[in-house]
């Protein structure tokens, strides 16, 4: 049913060169309403570049980017974020010297008018992420796992239509991973927010994603459900290397 709707995000032949290096090449990507899409690939596959391209932090060398149906090729990060696409960063995606509450508050300032309404949004977001007890703590002093949740909290407090998370599970223990996956599902189920997940933790990606896109050497390698990806011979080779190589 959902698949019949217009995609939230679509790229057509998206390409980015850095000098002689083709970081992302001719990529067609589609994110559908209500899905959790995983973007995976070995190191250097172009995942981060793709992330920077769709959030406007890099301008594409070629190709087009459509966000919520609008042509956003070459638009600024500000313009894209205001359409409702909010991203996090792989490293330290939070304000260390500010309290957890003020971190989350930052996500509400653009979209919510009025101090009381902003505080209500912060409370709701913190509740959702299990951060209520830490609202007054300085974010930089929290354990790593909670800092990762704060990063998601800042982004989710803006109530995006598409939440793009860059390796949110890195460095988390099993409990924290399971906890974060529950949060992601709730964000999708209760708020109708789609999620793009770039992640190295394969087990988690297989568990939470509806579809998975695999990149390899900056190119699209495969798209499919977790079961299809797991069985895909090209994907297995990309991760394990060709048998004849040695």
């Amino acid at each position: 049913m959902l698949t019949e709707q217009q995609p939230l995000l679509r790229t057509k032949g998206l390409t980015r060169r850095f000098g002689g290096l083709l970081a992302v090449s001719d990529l067609d990507l589609e994110i559908r309403p209500g899905e959790i899409l995983g973007l995976i690939g070995p190191n250097g596959a172009g995942k981060s570049t793709t992330f920077n391209l769709i959030s406007g932090f890099y301008k594409p060398s070629a190709g087009e980017l459509f966000v919520f149906g609008e042509n956003c090729t070459g638009r600024s990060p500000l313009a894209i974020s205001r359409l409702g696409l909010v991203r996090t960063f792989q490293h330290g995606s939070l304000m260390r010297s500010m309290t957890v509450g003020d971190n989350i508050l930052l996500g509400t300032i653009h979209g919510v008018r009025g101090s009381a309404q902003r505080r209500a949004r912060v409370a709701e977001t913190a509740e959702m992420l299990g951060l209520t007890a830490y609202l007054a703590e300085e974010a930089g002093n929290l354990p790593h796992g909670l800092q990762r949740l704060v990063s998601i909290g800042i982004a989710f407090a803006a109530r995006p239509k598409l939440l793009c998370l860059d390796e949110p599970l890195t460095g988390l223990n099993q409990t924290e991973v399971a906890n974060t996956l529950v949060v992601l599902k709730r964000i999708r189920d209760e708020f109708g927010c789609s999620v793009l997940l770039v992640e190295h933790n394969m087990k988690a990606v297989m568990r939470v994603c509806d579809r998975i896109v695999v990149l390899h050497h900056g190119q699209h390698l495969a798209t499919g459900t977790p079961a299809e990806i797991r069985a895909d011979q090209k994907v297995i080779e990309a991760y394990l290397g060709h048998r004849h190589e040695h």
Binding site: M98, G140, L142
Partner: protein, 306 residues
């Protein structure tokens, strides 16, 4: 908005104003004026530091405020209050243009542009015959009614502007400034127009700096290009660093202490600048969080965590 601790402010301002009412000695009055104007300049400098930038153009905006007041009063014959406000307004307008162009740079680049701007503006006054060239402008007098009340008036205006900047700092706008200092990219991802916020912060600080210049013009009655060199910003930085930048009370304490000690050092036969340089060195080495850092305990170090 977080609590602005209004009762403390009202109490503090009332005590300061009552104190100025007791001043009858002309020398003490001039020191009180210096402290009020210096504190306003230091708070303006610190306001831009909230977003992580060292604003040496502060000195230029103090000068623009002073010269605008001087020119509108003595050349255009504007009334006192209008000439006073014109200083702040002109500084604010110029800062919006200057900020729009320069706030795309950061750190040492922004600092150097501010430094160069200060010196360029100063040369502009020196070369302008209408503004009195190198000898400056004279006859910038407040109205007779304020005779004897200038310290009270200057402290009141400075206190109001400092309180206004503090209220901004405590508002959600102030939180965006801290966010820009901490992690500009994250602030950029949640729909906030960072350049606009930076320009607004810079303009608010520059209005305050311009008003400090206007007050300076009325306090001294005479202004010259030499009054507005980069040293104005260097002194303000000393006030902030010695007092402690963590809280707004820091620059107020720092200004009071350094102006009083500096005025004393002046009586010993110059060496004022060596004195300020030494104060910064001592403060940075021994009091990394300034005087207020001693009282309130150390802030947790950035990069602590786990």
């Amino acid at each position: 908005m977080d609590d602005v601790k209004l009762p403390y402010w009202i109490g503090g301002i009332a005590i300061a104003l009552a104190g100025t009412a007791l001043v009858r000695d002309a020398y003490i009055a001039s020191v009180v004026n210096l402290i009020a104007i210096g504190a306003l300049t230091a708070v303006s400098l610190r306001f831009v530091m909230l977003m992580g930038e060292l604003n040496f153009a502060t000195a230029a905006f103090v000068g623009i405020g002073a010269y605008t007041t001087g020119a509108t009063l003595t050349i255009l014959n504007w009334p006192f209050l209008l000439a006073l406000l014109a200083g702040g307004a002109m500084a604010g307008l110029v800062s919006i243009v200057f900020g729009y162009i320069t706030l795309r740079t950061k750190g040492p680049y922004f600092l150097l542009i501010g430094f160069a701007f200060t010196e360029a503006i100063r040369i502009l006054y020196s070369k302008s015959a209408a503004l009195g060239g190198t000898s400056g402008m004279v006859g910038i007098f407040p109205p007779m009614v304020l005779d004897g009340w200038m310290p009270t008036f200057i402290v009141a205006v400075a206190a109001l502007l400092i309180l206004a900047l503090y209220a901004l700092e405590r508002s959600d706008f102030g939180k965006i400034l801290t966010a820009i200092r901490d992690n500009e990219n994250v602030a950029r991802t949640v729909g906030l127009n960072i350049l606009l916020v930076k320009i607004a912060c810079f303009a608010a600080a520059s209005v305050a700096a311009g008003m400090a210049g206007s007050l300076h013009a009325f306090a001294n009655n005479v202004i010259s290009p030499g009054d507005f060199s980069f040293l104005v910003a260097a002194f303000a930085l000393a006030y902030v660093k010695v007092g402690g930048e963590g809280r707004i009370i820091g620059p107020l304490l720092g200004t009071g202490l350094l102006v009083v000690l500096g005025s004393y050092a002046l009586g010993l036969g110059g060496g004022e600048h060596i004195f300020y340089g030494a104060a910064i060195v001592v403060a940075v080495l021994l009091l990394p969080h300034g005087i207020t850092g001693l009282v309130g305990g150390k802030r947790p170090q950035a990069g602590g965590g786990h």
